[in-house]
């Protein structure tokens, strides 16, 4: 059952080939048996999952089942779940049990999905390797000495290891696409404002966006149908109808104009990754798409602009963790100041503290214009690059990340080396555009991701091209050793 796609599971459940309780128990058993090797799941909600599965089976029997009725999924531990610990990968929230659900969680509940548990992640979504999690790093199912990517590394590894057919994730600078690439699965970051951020623990509010991960583009479309919504509770959510993302999947790519940015194939790109990505582009060309070389001249500025904007917004967002109302409080504070300072020093990990300090620096008196103001201007330039490019092309494609999964500790000493992991993904967050990663090859036994960037609200166009590529390739069906 674990090798079936979500589309197939929905059919199997509706035609009563298996029940949701059987399916849910099967995935719970897989988590119990296999996850000790990967550490992808922080909290397993066995009892609630089996109850929800039984309720789903009842609805399926009654014939009034919603779209994802009985399908088991995992939530990234950044989405608040009523009554279930939501840690955000941090000691700060190790004891945090939210009294409410995130809108995304509500949406899946309404669609009848069964939640198996919560996935591991970099602390407060700050990282590209999952090494910053308070609960320990997640291991890549393709090579357990290597990182799964981050920050949604737990969700990506869980889907790759078939611990769940799909999972929720979030992307601030590449946190859906980069782990999807390194774990050989599919994942889409929608347009900024497409998915509600309410109840999704904030990192950098002008960049954060939730999205789904699954093995195929079709499954991502099914999950996004449920995940995307307009939400009054998120003031940056865009009030726009959610289309059926599965409607155009079968459209041919004939005549599709694909922009290939020359800046995404420059030095630093692993030759094996380049070869796999070029082969995928050639395959799409064979299917009738047209490749057009384009330029995104300000690409190189996206990493520095991001590492001002993201930490600046993080330093403001994370000021809410004060040890007073929820989360970690240090022992025996001698006064209020001591309570704040020690709770934050003891509750936050090293990378989170570093980003708070950088953000505070960039926002402090005398530096604001030179750093934050300047970055917001550069952000405009980066967006203009994309706006110009989309005048001539329908989609933009290139590598998701510069190389396949690296080994644990390989980028440990230098934060900047780690930051460059997101060099191809960050620009779309700065511009607010949708982007996806799908598997397109293997290098040294590790997966390579093809990145597909679309125009604003063209998630359907991205998913269509991804699905068409997956009709002509089988990278998305491959499983790590010992998994199938």
């Amino acid at each position: 059952m674990h090798n079936l796609t979500i589309a197939e599971l929905v059919k199997g459940l509706q035609s009563k080939e298996f029940t949701s309780v059987e399916l849910t128990q099967h995935f719970l058993d897989r988590i119990a048996n296999l996850d000790p090797a990967y550490n992808a799941v922080i909290t397993v909600t066995t009892e609630q999952a089996l109850q929800a599965a039984a309720a789903a089976d009842q609805r399926l029997a009654d014939g009034n089942a919603p779209d994802l009725c009985g399908v088991p999924i995992l939530h990234k531990d950044i989405f608040c779940t009523d009554g279930v610990r939501t840690s955000c990968g941090s000691k700060m929230l190790d004891n945090f049990i939210p009294p409410y659900n995130a809108t995304v969680v509500e949406n899946f509940e309404k669609a009848g999905a069964v939640v198996l548990g919560k996935t591991n992640m970099d602390e407060f979504a700050m990282g590209s390797s999952n090494e910053t999690s308070f609960y320990g790093a997640v291991k890549n199912p393709w090579a357990t000495d290597s990182v799964p990517g981050g920050s949604s590394g737990g969700s990506a590894a869980a889907v790759a290891a078939r611990l769940a057919p799909g999972a929720t994730a979030t992307d601030t600078g590449g946190s859906i696409r980069q782990p999807a690439a390194l774990c050989g699965i599919s994942g889409i970051k929608p347009t900024y404002g497409r998915v509600s951020r309410w109840g999704m623990i904030a990192f950098a509010s002008s960049l954060d966006q939730g999205g789904p991960m699954a093995r195929t583009a079709e499954d991502c479309a099914l999950l996004l149908n449920c995940m995307a919504s307009y939400d009054d509770k998120d003031s940056t959510c865009i009030d726009r109808e959610v289309p059926d993302y599965t409607a155009n999947l079968n459209r041919s790519v004939k005549g599709l104009r694909i922009g290939v940015p020359k800046e995404y194939f420059s030095e630093g790109l692993h030759p094996g990754t380049e070869e796999a990505v070029r082969a995928a582009l050639a395959k799409l060309q064979e299917q009738g798409a047209e490749l057009v070389e384009i330029s995104l001249p300000n690409s190189a500025l996206s990493v520095p602009a991001y590492y001002v904007i993201a930490p600046a917004e993080a330093s403001a967002n994370l000021s809410r963790f004060d040890g007073a109302r929820y989360g970690y409080r240090c022992e025996n504070p001698k006064d209020l100041e001591d309570m704040y300072c020690r709770s934050r020093a003891e509750g936050f990990g090293e990378e989170v503290q570093r980003r708070i300090l950088i953000g505070t620096y960039c926002l402090s008196a005398g530096y604001y214009d030179a750093y934050y103001g300047k970055s917001q201007q550069v952000r405009q330039l980066i967006q203009q690059d994309f706006v110009s490019a989309f005048e001539n092309v329908d989609l933009i494609m290139g590598p998701t990340c510069p190389s396949p999964a690296f080994k644990f500790g390989a980028k440990g000493d230098d934060p900047v080396a780690m930051y460059l992991e997101d060099i191809y993904t960050i620009a779309t967050n700065l511009a607010g555009l949708p982007g996806m990663s799908i598997p397109c090859g293997m290098v040294e036994g590790k997966p390579v991701g093809l990145q597909i960037i679309g125009n604003y609200f063209d998630e359907a166009g991205i998913l269509n091209a991804a699905h068409q590529y997956q009709q002509a390739s089988d990278w998305h069906t491959q499983a790590p050793e010992g998994i199938a």
Partner: protein, 95 residues
């Protein structure tokens, strides 16, 4: 780019993060390397470019001034480190 010890101490105070004396120089070195990265921005000509705060130029929308949230004080205080009589307790502020 180097960053002074005293500057790290000031940032730590502003951020309300207790900082360990022994780690200051290491923190300074790592922050320095990040600042070196972001300093690439200073060379960019952004004259006349408007700062971008929302990708779709969306502005805050307004709503009717109505009560939409229920009072959930008990549920919200149940997860607090320390409360008493419906109040959050913190160390004594006034002597």
């Amino acid at each position: 780019m180097s960053i002074e010890r005293s500057e790290i101490e000031k940032l730590a105070t502003l951020s309300r993060i207790a900082i360990n004396e022994e780690t200051i120089s290491e923190v300074a070195q790592r922050l320095g390397s990040v600042l070196e990265l972001v300093d690439q921005l200073q060379a960019v000509n952004t004259d006349g470019v408007e700062a971008m705060s929302h990708p779709m130029q969306a502005t805050q929308r307004l709503r009717e001034d109505e009560v939409t949230e229920l009072n959930r004080r008990e549920a919200l205080q149940a997860i607090a480190p320390e409360t008493e009589d419906g109040l959050f307790l913190v160390p004594k502020v006034i002597e």
